[in-house]
């Protein structure tokens, strides 16, 4: 039964997250709030039950597969993408490269300074 227990915990957190998101009309999706809730529960409870680890890590291992159905939806937008192909491509590639470089650089700088300040 550990897998069923694990899945139940994940779904319970997601349900709670959806309720919070809907109830407070937050612009944040329920699963993300569910993640925060699960993290809080784990921090309070002081450990990850084995069933939860089994199910959770299993799902995370195949995370990329889960994006496929939404991605096939690109086929519906063929014409729109075709009309704005150049700006879309340049913005995607250019901005992703800039974002990667800036984030990595800023974080490594901050980390070095942070370590020095702490001694």
């Amino acid at each position: 039964m550990p897998m069923i227990m694990g899945m139940s915990i994940l779904l319970a957190c997601q349900t709670l997250g959806e309720l919070v998101a809907r109830g407070l009309t937050l612009p944040i999706p329920g699963p993300v709030i569910g993640m925060v809730i699960l993290l809080a529960v784990l921090l309070v409870g002081g450990g990850v039950p084995q069933g939860l680890r089994l199910t959770g890590e299993g799902l995370l291992r195949y995370l990329t597969l889960l994006f496929v159905p939404a991605g096939v939806g690109l086929m519906v937008h063929g014409t729109l993408i075709g009309r704005d192909l150049l700006p879309i491509l340049v913005a995607l590639v250019g901005s992703t490269a800039i974002t990667l470089a800036v984030t990595a650089w800023v974080l490594s700088r901050l980390q070095v300074r942070f370590r020095r300040e702490r001694g």
Binding site: L10, C13, M35, G56, L65, T96, T99, L100, S108
Partner: protein, 243 residues
């Protein structure tokens, strides 16, 4: 025993969720194999390959996306619990996260502002339409969040989801190269950067290629970026007068 004609069988099968569910799994398996065959290059990301295979197949057998999604939604649904499960690696590495919390938050805000302004800037410069621009804006955020944001600021949610995936694949292709160029060897920084710029794709890449620490930080970056962008982006578009 009477044998049903083939076209009748096809009519039955194509109306069933079973077929698209099976096709999705097979396309993914095939894509992973193909990717390995060409040396596991991130330029041909298995997910993009699987998506291309499926779109090709759907066009070939003349099935529309709505019918396909009736079956594939069972896989899509698991994105929810998988997002929740990101709390597990975060919990495992909580000490390191706590120690680095301030630098991580600052880097996250910088990264988000960079992503949004460079996307909108490049898009506007090249004359993208308003709805395209608004669908592009949340592109570095994990797709369920991006879809919500796009709807809020006047983009097309499903187009956003697709652009988010393309961003993920591009981030996985460019990420290792850029990290090497900047001589970043710390798996925590590598993971965080990938998770911020390439959401779930980056996180999956970090888990698979860079190990559990990188994966945990990547998951953290993905969650934080999603949360913060949901709040920041509507403000940025308003500031730029793009409402």
């Amino acid at each position: 025993m009477s044998v049903a004609p083939l076209d009748q069988l096809w009519v039955y099968l194509s109306g069933q969720p079973l077929l698209s569910l099976l096709a999705t799994l097979l396309a993914f398996l095939l894509a992973v194999r193909l990717n390995r065959l060409v040396g596991g290059t991130p330029l041909l990301h298995p997910v993009m390959l699987a998506i291309a295979l499926l779109i090709g197949w759907l066009r070939l057998v003349d099935l529309d996306y709505a019918t396909y999604f009736e079956g594939a939604q069972f896989i899509h649904f698991l994105l929810g619990p998988a997002t929740v499960a990101l709390a597990i690696p975060l919990y495992d590495h909580r000490e390191r996260v706590r120690r680095l919390l301030m630098p991580l938050l600052l880097a996250c805000v910088t990264g988000i502002v960079t992503a949004v302004t460079s996307t909108l800037g490049l898009g506007m410069l090249l004359g993208a339409r308003h709805e395209t621009l608004m669908s592009l804006a949340p592109r570095s955020v994990t797709s369920p969040i991006a879809m919500g944001i796009a709807e809020q600021i006047g983009g097309i949610p499903s187009l956003s989801a697709g652009l988010v995936l393309l961003t993920g694949a591009i981030g996985c292709a460019l990420g290792p190269f850029i990290l090497r160029l900047l001589r970043i060897n710390d798996p925590a920084i590598q993971g965080f950067t990938l998770g911020l710029a390439a959401h779930g794709f980056g996180t999956a890449h970090a888990f698979a290629r860079l190990g559990a620490v990188a994966g945990a930080f990547s998951g953290l970056a993905m969650g934080l970026t999603g949360l913060l962008t949901a709040f920041l982006l509507p403000l940025v578009t308003r500031l730029l007068g793009l409402d």
